[in-house]
Symmetry: C2
């Protein structure tokens, strides 16, 4: 069982690499982060599920093709390791530009990784918009 | 390693129990589904992160207190087992009533479970709104 602080630190690094790959808008770098098999899945904010590497890869191609620039300040990172499985939960503070328009946004992410041959590979990304900082009793309607 | 079809079927059942507990609007039943320790986390659609059982429990109390009725038709369930860790990804087709107003909505969920003493306990729930079925190239802006 590859548990312990070292393995958890490596999980954080893998999570960090995912966001650097996202910023690069380079499909090759994004591919290096993922386990590129049929069992991977991805939920982008507001999108339906993408399942299997070909669909997940296509989603990144679409995003990268429609994004001029994106920068992530990733905060509130919590990591969990259970055997060869681990996950990171974090807040993505995003500055992006699309069609010449700059946009600030916040997304909460769940990133699940699997440890294979001594490295953490991403198997599931779930990003969802943080709509409001208002008290949850006045939570926005789900659409 | 408790792998195999039986354990995966139990993961599906645990995921199903979560939604039946949600429908019951009964905190006691919801508590039975979770691993009630400090390492659990929850992201409701649009909300910020709740971390640790007291915060997660409070979020359910708020939702239950503000919901008159909720019914889930859970579809597109995909389950993944890796050792004592497992997760379910599914589409929640929701009919709910709040303040006398009925609402239909769709939420994509990532539910991570940990297997302890022969049962799957929920350790992380991440639900996010499905905004549109439109092609992802016209994806909605994240807020």
């Amino acid at each position: 069982m590859p548990e312990g602080k070292g393995v958890e630190a490596e999980l954080r690094q893998a999570n960090e690499r995912f966001y650097r790959a996202f910023e690069s808008l380079d499909l090759g770098r994004m591919e290096e982060v993922w386990l590129t098999d049929a069992a991977v899945t991805c939920i982008h904010p507001g999108w339906t599920l993408r399942a299997g590497w070909p669909e997940v890869r296509e989603s990144w191609a679409l995003i990268f093709g429609n994004t001029e620039m994106i920068r992530f300040a990733v905060t509130d990172v919590e990591t969990f390791v259970r055997g060869t499985c681990g996950w990171a939960i974090c807040l993505e503070n995003i500055l992006s530009a699309t069609g010449g328009v700059a946009l600030e946004s916040r997304v909460l992410a769940t990133n699940i990784f699997e440890r294979r041959e001594g490295r953490w590979a991403l198997v599931h990304h779930h990003g969802s918009p943080v709509v409001t900082a208002a008290p949850p009793v006045r939570r926005p309607r789900v659409h």
